[in-house]
Symmetry: C2
Subunit: 770 residues, 2 copies
């Protein structure tokens, strides 16, 4: 039977639509067990949806037959929630494991815990019970490498030993990561979000969300983050969560056999991924909705929210950091902000926009270079080189030596009384009696000035190294590095404004703004605003970004500064180019992604885009009752289109349907094997009744069963903006073009994307897949 066997078709370079449709008389037959799409092809959303409706209809009608069937139908209805629960549990657990492992291995670069080598610095000192809030290096159980090997931590020798061991560990971790990726799961590299966006829009990449990718990505993510590279775990966590989603899809045929339904689960999994990455379930759902998902029905919204919550609570129950905080960077500020502060906030927004532009341009240029030159042939070497340079440059500066999330955490923090950080080294003014827990509006001490220099150097270092890091062949996210860039810049600006307001408190602006003796400026808030601006500039997230930040601070108080910075950053960055980093990478890779956010505003018509163009050979069509088996086989052999329109006759060119190449091949093969009298000169007919044939002609072959009688058509005068809209909203793969009922041509998704690229003065050949 057609569709029951998976053939080994060679992937075709040029495709001409395929597999649309609602084979109404085909529905009673079982669907093939394997997915019906080729690798690197796009699914037909309408078809998937209609298949699911059929499945649902069958279950509903069966459920009335017996109690067992009724129970089965209930199980089917609940399977969505079960999958969400499992995704939440697994991705929460994996996030906790990753956190614990990263914590331990990051500290391993500096030293080891004597009481138990599997303890991180914090756990080691925490269990030793001797120091609590004291200095980091005063915990006796924790020994730096120099202490362990040379017995002391002072002097150039000890420093050099620590320095070289730091570099060696970093190189070891990253080389292990790149080898694992290369050998076991090449898809585990990168952030994964561009590919997930494309997959969610209906593209098939086999194995991208497979078990191996899940395993290797989890392991190598730990290694990559621990190696001290300028990358984060947030993007890859979304990939990991989507792999979990895909894994649990295979438990239920409802999801494993329907690519459309599977994508609903993956959307929710993406939400769970962001939820555990930041501890922000609502932000995660909005991220999935705004940034990642293509088709997001409201049912999915509710389930995504469920998955995101379960994931967040699982992570909190495991409690990897021992502080039972849900969010990654929990902050609490005590000072309100003032209207005048909006000026530096907006300036930070401008900085974020510029950084976003610089990063996207630089990173894409570098990635293109990697793709096109010799560079791309030695990924392991590249990873080692980047790791080496990062480690060499990072170690001397205390702000780059530690893990990036710790750095961000410190930069976000308000200086409290218990804070021992260099950044909080303010000179105490003995003349003023101030509450102990706030220190702004005091002159900065030498520590703050040292910190400023170190932060400035760290900023330059992070800006440059991140451009070269994102895209190397290990898992790498850019949320954390982007936020770090913004947080450093923000903190510097914050301290500057704070010191200005202290030293020039007689200026008219500060006079109105700061009452003497009261707090004015919270440098930590500037760091947070800067982080939001830079993240916004790179990803062009808006609502989800603000909501994630809102969940981090837990109050609506600071949402206006965050919004002001996010919106400025987006506008500035958009002025230089509409694409966020993910869209830029999608385009670089030539994925067939039809962005919902792009507006198509050109005045072209369907007739300008359809194939065949003027001068090209006519469209390959079948006739409803005047083609022989031989002719069909020749057509299949000579062309590599994915499907063929069926017309009444070549003269009238009146369209009656569309038939898939795959179905045609299988049907003829089956008929030749099983059906008597089917020979090369047998007539093929797609009509209900066999055609009138001479008496001596062989038995005709009826193929109406595989004919899609409802192909999608537009007229040749349809504006392309409508066609693009139809492709986007209905998720079509191809569309036939007619004029007064006559078939003129065909438009595939690839044609649409190429036309859009052309209209934007980009290379239409950059679209690689259909």
């Amino acid at each position: 039977m057609a569709g029951e066997v998976e053939t080994n078709m060679t992937p075709t370079e040029e495709m001409n639509g395929s597999g649309s449709g609602h084979l109404m008389d085909f529905l009673d037959e079982p669907f093939p067990d394997v997915a019906t799409y080729e690798d690197f092809h796009t699914i037909d959303w309408l078809r998937e949806k209609s298949r699911d409706t059929d499945r649902h209809r069958k279950i509903t009608s069966k459920s009335k037959e017996s109690v067992w069937e009724f129970v089965k139908s209930l199980l089917d209805a609940w399977s969505g929630w079960v999958v969400m629960l499992l995704i939440g549990l697994l991705s929460g657990t994996l996030a906790a494991v990753i956190d614990l492992a990263v914590d331990w291995m990051t500290d391993l670069k500096e030293g080891v815990c004597l009481s138990a080598f599997w303890y991180s610095h914090e756990q080691c000192c925490w269990t030793s019970n001797e120091t609590t809030f004291d200095d980091r290096d005063k915990c006796p159980q924790w020994q730096r490498w120099s202490e362990l090997m040379m017995g002391h931590t002072q002097g150039a020798g000890a420093y050099l030993l620590n320095y070289s061991l730091y570099i060696i560990w970093a190189l070891f971790f990253s080389s292990l990561a790149v080898s694992l990726v290369r050998v076991f799961a090449p898809y585990a590299c990168g952030s994964g979000i561009p590919e997930i966006k494309t997959i969610l829009s209906g593209f098939i990449i086999r194995g991208y969300l497979g078990k191996w990718t899940l395993l290797i990505k989890t392991v190598t993510l730990v290694l990559a983050v621990s190696s001290g590279l300028s990358l984060g775990k947030e993007g890859p966590l979304v990939h990991v969560a989507c792999c979990c989603g895909n894994l649990f899809c295979s438990l239920f045929s409802k999801y494993s056999k329907n690519e459309g339904k599977r994508r609903e689960v993956l959307s929710a999994a993406a939400a769970a991924g962001v939820s555990v990455a930041f501890g922000a379930p609502i932000g995660g759902v909005l991220f999935s909705l705004e940034e990642v998902s293509y088709y997001f029905p409201l049912k999915t919204l509710w389930r995504s929210f469920f998955a995101a919550l379960v994931a967040a609570f699982t992570l909190r129950s495991i409690n990897p950091f021992g502080n039972s905080r849900l969010v990654l960077f929990y902050v609490e500020y005590h000072t309100p902000w003032y209207m005048a502060e909006l000026v530096p906030f907006i300036l930070l927004g401008v900085f974020g926009g510029l950084w976003g532009t610089l990063f996207i341009r630089g990173n894409i240029a570098w990635c293109r270079r990697r793709k096109t030159t010799q560079l791309g042939k030695y990924p392991a070497l590249e990873v080692m080189a980047v790791t080496g340079i990062t480690a060499i440059l990072a170690f001397p500066n205390p702000y780059t030596r530690r893990s990036t999330s710790e750095l961000i955490s410190e930069l976000f923090n308000d200086c409290g009384a218990l804070e021992s950080s260099q950044l909080c080294d303010y000179v105490n003014d003995p003349n003023m009696t101030r509450p102990a827990d706030d220190i702004p509006d005091r002159p900065a001490g030498p520590g703050v000035y040292t910190a400023l220099w170190q932060l400035a150097l760290a900023l330059i270092f992070k800006i440059i190294i991140t451009i070269f890091t994102f895209g190397i062949k290990i898992p790498s996210g850019l949320f954390i590095p982007s936020m770090a860039v913004g947080a450093i810049a923000g903190r510097i600006v914050g301290i500057a404004v704070e010191q200005m307001s202290y030293h020039h408190h007689d200026w008219i602006i500060f006079k109105n703004w700061c009452r003497p003796g009261a707090d004015c400026v919270t440098p930590g808030l500037y760091a947070m605003v800067g982080a939001a601006a830079c993240l916004g500039g790179v990803t062009r997230m808006t609502v989800s970004l603000v909501v994630i930040m809102f969940e981090l601070t837990g109050g609506l108080e600071y949402i206006v500064p965050l919004m002001a910075a996010a919106v400025t950053s987006k506008w500035v960055a958009d002025a230089f180019g509409k694409e966020g980093i993910y869209e830029a990478h999608i385009q670089l890779n030539g994925y067939p992604f039809l962005d919902v956010k792009d507006e198509f505003t050109h005045r072209t018509l369907a007739t300008d885009v359809m194939r065949p163009r003027c001068g090209e050979p006519p469209l390959a069509v079948l006739t409803q009752d005047s083609t022989t088996v031989e002719d069909v086989e020749a057509l299949i052999k000579d062309t590599d289109y994915n499907g063929f329109p069926v017309v009444v006759s070549r003269e009238s060119e009146r369209l009656i349907g569309f038939v898939q190449r795959r179905d045609l091949t299988l049907a003829i093969k089956n008929a030749r094997q099983k059906q008597d009298g089917v020979v090369s000169i047998s007539m093929v007919h797609f009509t209900e009744e066999p055609p009138q044939l001479p008496a001596d002609s062989p038995q005709p072959l009826k193929l109406r069963r595989i004919l899609n009688l409802s192909p999608f058509t537009v007229t040749d005068h349809t504006p392309m903006e409508t066609v693009v809209d139809i492709f986007r909203k209905l998720g079509l793969r191809q569309c036939l073009v007619t004029r007064s009922g006559r078939l003129l041509g065909i438009i595939t998704k690839k044609d649409v994307l190429r036309h859009m690229a052309q209209m934007m003065n980009q290379d239409p050949e950059s679209i690689m897949f259909n």
Copy 2:
């Protein structure tokens, strides 16, 4: 010119599609100033979108011509943000004004402030500076009516005086409200959300969002809420915010002249409305997304969020309650919840679902009765009767006498040390030294038992009266009454569980759960969970409900109980009927609303739905070059379809386009007046070239300009689920049905809705409009 003059067409009972299309050669002409849609018709989303793209294209190309044009293009690009800002400011201000007025007028029913009669009870006592946390009635400036008139508040006489004045004020307020609504703005009645949902889906109701409606709805909302009826201001506030949105749309031709763009603004305005109603901006955006909006592009998400935030901050800046709280019911609980408590929470969810079902069925039955019987002819009498009954029954019970939001606020509250409420009358156990600010796990005092009885009576009263109140001809929301029902039930359950855990602390379940001496149960949390469950049962909101509740409590801690209750309530209610109250009212009114959430799962085909059916006269069509002016005029006169397909010839039936009735009428009228030689027997042609005519025939009339060359077509074999999907996602008004290029029939939105109603065993005639 066609389209420049608005004709007085009589509304037609039966319509046959109209006004689709992209008149490509028509675009250079100015669009008519008045909206091009009739009242009670549905817009064509594709057409609106394409019109906006054209407008945008024109502005972009002009902006390169001069500096002034460039500035104009910038203004145009910014106008969206300006509109959002204005909406936020105005709806925030209106919400504050409504709050203040309601506060004053509600108190006016009980007494008056001697120092300034325009002060509410709270303001009066607050300014008198004599009492702060003391009993409500101990403020000397505030006098109850009996005190003012008789000099004392004790005794039956005083009680009766207060009672009758309470009723008189209530009757006065509600009669004023109903008269204002009847005389000035009949659309100001009801909650408005069903109509706004329909309007956002593309329906036109002239004046529903007009200035008069805005004014009268604001005033009458205050009167209605103050009259003590069992209704809330939340739904009407959404209507008020949408009126603001519509008002500001008229400032910018971008929005006022494009019904599609206007709906983007209205979606954002709805978010702003919920934002000020609850002080929950994120919840507001999600409410708009989940519940109200039909077409919600991501650009709108960001703008909605902006509008919602501006509105919330405006409200907070005005600070009507003097407590600078953003949220309506701010609560803070100090006790965690225990897993075992999920059982009562889920029971509350079941209660919520049952209440939702009871309410929807009862209310719809009553509203249908009102529509079909004499009852509907005396709306003012009905309002007076309901007000009278409410006031008579409400006054004796302290929990129904006060305003419903105050009641909910008290029920949500945790009993603190300063709480003087009857609900917190617990017996202090002298043997235990407990912190002062928590009281659970003490035996209930007599006050609590009295309160329980009164609450039980209030619950029964609220359940019954709300069913009859929602739908009377004054502004009435049901969020607050629904929440009140749930909060009362929840508090009762909460107190019961609490007392059980106190009196039976040796039961195994309580033993594991409550450590002796520690708090166990927070009855306020039960009230909140109950409120969420009941609101969910009535409206079927899910994510937005949980997020609104999350914003009220400000912590993720209690999200699991809320989710458990919300999801249970939705499942229970869905088991009795899929429709929420808003969808039920939409259906009752016969609005053409194609719900995005409904799944169409039947196996019908386009051919089963299209007109003409078997036996009906053939479809009224025009031919491209063989119709005379006379024929066209006769066709327009004889039929009342909104448009006509144009075919090559009646024999071939090959479709070439679609022409609107309106355009046809105007074009012929204009031609007859202005164009020489056009007489009744002139040929009308839709082709580029005039047809070959005999030499003596009059000059033909070319109408290609008004022909839509890209009508939407499907084949007769297309499954209806696909057709429904296309109508939903593309926002079509009609779709032509073809088979092998031949025109067979037409499907309008009304046909689709009628078919869906029929498939669900509902009366297809209930769909009134197209």
